[in-house]
């Protein structure tokens, strides 16, 4: 074998060099990330042991000790509270439509969203297979089928389908309200279901969605009002925001329960609606301050450019300032909405049976006394899943709206 000298290139070649590549090996990764110094190695070993112990203990409890029948026996209570069985299909309809819309939207707007769609299909499918109850099984399988159909339809990527999907999302909220609340006590198809029968996860989600949908525009208006040059408008906004922020949520809930009937004599307002009002009024004040933060981050030049082009102030706000301000505060707003979702559990105090309230009533059942661990672990799991979903969705939205790159 002869050794030949490599020719030395006279000039650097015009071709750009590819970046140096690092080969991925498991051992290499472990060394670099977990065992690169003696104290990191020690830390790794200790942590692995602790985690193993914890997982073993929890697994032991979850698989051998825990009496999960407290959950399975009360699944319907957790889901919808006392909502009548004859009207249960209406809650299921909400779920099926939601899955169809989600599938359609994923098909229309997401590229390479196979993970998301797989999750969307697998979740109801697996639960449907596991379900004991006929209605539940078919509703869940129906949701999976609806999502699949929506996704396939979305592959057409037609303009009118996009319009349909957007209209669907806008119409979804009123649809849910109509389905759940009903059309009146005499209505043949959708008789009213009194709100004192609403409960469980259904009530928690309704409180959250109503809170978000109504506090968002109210909060934006308050933020704009606070920055307004009109002294009365800005003073009123400041007073509202500061009063609400100076008071605990529980107080606002009580005030909504007790004061609303006083302010509106002659009108009987439903208890759940009063709680929703409390949630909206409370959330709007915080939202206003978050949005105001976003508004303040917009440089003066944006206003000047808009005015120089002849935009009126309301056009400037609506077309140029608000879109940028809201985009900037998406992470904060989502954080606030997640907090709102969990804070709705405080409606227990005014006597409503949301997910947390149901958990308390289940624990009072004579058959299942002393099963706090099981019940609260389950409730925590439900809250955790929904919070995670909201957070994941917001990250999607942020990536999609990122125009700087």
């Amino acid at each position: 074998m002869s050794i030949q000298a490599q020719p030395i290139p006279q000039r650097p070649s015009a071709e750009p060099l590819p970046p140096p590549t690092e080969r991925f090996t498991v051992l290499g990764w472990l060394y670099k990330n977990l065992f690169n110094t003696w104290y990191n190695a020690l830390l790794t070993v200790v942590m692995v042991m602790l985690i193993a112990l914890a997982v073993r203990a929890v697994g032991e409890w979850a698989l051998n000790v825990a009496r999960w029948e407290v959950i399975t026996a009360n699944l319907r209570l957790f889901a919808v509270g006392q909502y009548p069985i004859t009207a249960l299909w209406r809650a299921w309809a909400c779920v099926v439509v939601l899955w169809a819309l989600a599938g359609l939207s994923l098909g229309l707007w997401s590229r390479r969203a196979y993970g998301s769609i797989a999750l969307l299909l697998a979740f109801p499918f697996v639960l449907g297979i596991l379900a004991q109850d006929e209605t539940t099984r078919w509703a869940l399988l129906g949701a999976a089928a609806a999502a699949a159909a929506g996704f396939l339809l979305g592959q057409l990527r037609q303009r009118w389908l996009r319009r349909l999907a957007l209209a669907g999302w806008v119409a979804y909220f009123p649809l849910v309200i109509v389905l759940i609340a009903g059309l009146g006590s005499e209505a043949p198809l959708l008789p009213s279901v009194p709100t004192n029968l609403w409960g469980g996860l259904l009530l928690t989600l309704l409180l959250t969605v109503v809170g978000i949908v109504f506090s968002f525009p109210l909060g934006v208006l308050l933020a704009l009002g606070r920055r307004s040059k009109l002294p009365i408008l800005s003073a009123l906004s400041v007073i509202y925001i500061e009063v609400i922020r100076g008071v605990p949520f529980v107080t606002v809930l009580f005030m909504a329960q007790l004061m609303l009937p006083l302010f509106l004599p002659g009108v009987t307002i439903d208890r759940v609606v009063r709680a929703m009002a409390g949630v909206v009024l409370f959330s709007a004040a915080y939202l206003a301050e978050n949005v105001r933060g976003g508004l303040q981050a917009i440089p003066r030049g944006q206003y000047e450019a808009a005015y120089a082009l002849g935009f009126k102030p309301w056009q400037t706000t609506l077309l140029i300032i608000l879109p940028q301000a809201l985009k900037a505060v998406i992470p904060i707003l989502v954080g606030q909405f997640i907090a709102l979702f969990k804070d709705t559990s405080l409606v227990v105090i005014v006597g409503l049976l949301d997910l947390m309230g149901i958990a308390k009533t289940v624990l009072a059942q004579p058959d299942f006394l002393g099963l706090q661990a099981e019940v609260y672990a389950f409730v925590a799991l439900v809250y955790g899943v929904f919070s995670f979903l909201m957070s994941a969705l917001s990250q999607r939205l942020e990536q999609r709206l990122n125009t700087a790159r």
Binding site: Q302, A305, A308, L309, G310, L319, I320, K327, T403
Partner: protein, 254 residues
């Protein structure tokens, strides 16, 4: 198209008489008198803090003047909001920091005002926008966002955005001051082409090559006053005031 007393074609398009402006106790503009004819290209230069930017911004009322008179295309600038909006629609402005709308694509940046302020159809506005993008040399960037463009490209989009309103007057407030040296030329080339097309322009700039090439009149500002004005030949070759001579020698020598 307006019912207001339309100015005669031969009258100056901009008339400023004894314009004053204070920031608190600071006297920023101290009696500016200026007349700009249709199609005239005016270059304003002077040391920083001399009131050049403040002055140019009073013409479309981004700054309010507190004494004197400003008449743009026959309309006097007063507190009347309708007059202000009319003048702003007739007056394009290009800023030092571009001030493009970062949440909109280049095309949307240009079409937004024609659609909302002028009431054009989207198709018409987009057609005009594409023509303007060709004119400033970057039609291929139409669907990008401002954050993806270089400074020079952003400033050319800003010029196209102002031109889309089909203004009678273009105001440039230090349009090349925030640009890297190699990008200044691409913006100046667009401005020179615009000047040669007969646009009325007021340009605050220190680009003396540009001034020499296309300016009809140059104004030297210092301490809120016009120290001297004249054609580029007069200003460069034979300035009357020592302050002008000194300032020009400073900015030409570096």
């Amino acid at each position: 198209m307006t019912q207001a007393p339309q100015a005669n074609e031969n009258d100056p398009i901009i008339i400023c008489r004894d314009v004053h402006k204070w920031y608190g106790h600071f006297h920023a503009l101290r009696g500016i008198n200026m007349e700009v004819q249709r199609g005239e290209v005016v270059v304003i230069f002077g040391p920083s803090g001399s009131g050049k930017s403040t002055f140019i911004r009073t013409i479309n009322r981004l700054e309010e003047h507190q004494r004197g008179q400003i008449i743009v295309d026959g309309i006097e600038l007063t507190h009347d909001v309708r007059n202000i909006e009319r003048i702003r629609a007739e007056t394009g402005m290009v800023f030092q920091q571009f001030n493009l709308f970062p949440h909109l694509t280049v095309l949307e940046n240009i079409t937004l005002a024609p659609i909302w302020v002028r009431g054009w159809k989207r198709d018409q506005a987009e057609e005009v926008a594409m023509q303007l993008l060709k004119r400033v040399g970057i039609p291929e960037q139409a669907h990008k966002y401002p954050g993806q463009l270089s400074g020079g490209q952003q400033q050319r989009v800003a010029i196209a955005r102002a031109l889309a309103m089909q203004p009678k007057i273009m105001l440039f407030d230090e349009p090349t001051s925030a640009l890297d040296p190699e990008m200044i030329k691409e913006v100046l080339d667009v401005m020179i082409e615009l000047a040669e097309s007969g646009m009325t322009m007021i340009v605050v700039t220190h680009e003396m090559g540009f001034a020499r090439a296309v300016a009809d009149t140059m104004y030297f500002f210092d301490k809120g006053q016009i120290v001297e004005s004249g054609t580029p030949e007069q200003i460069f070759e034979d300035p009357r005031e020592e302050r002008t001579r000194l300032f020009i020698s400073q900015i030409l020598s570096h």
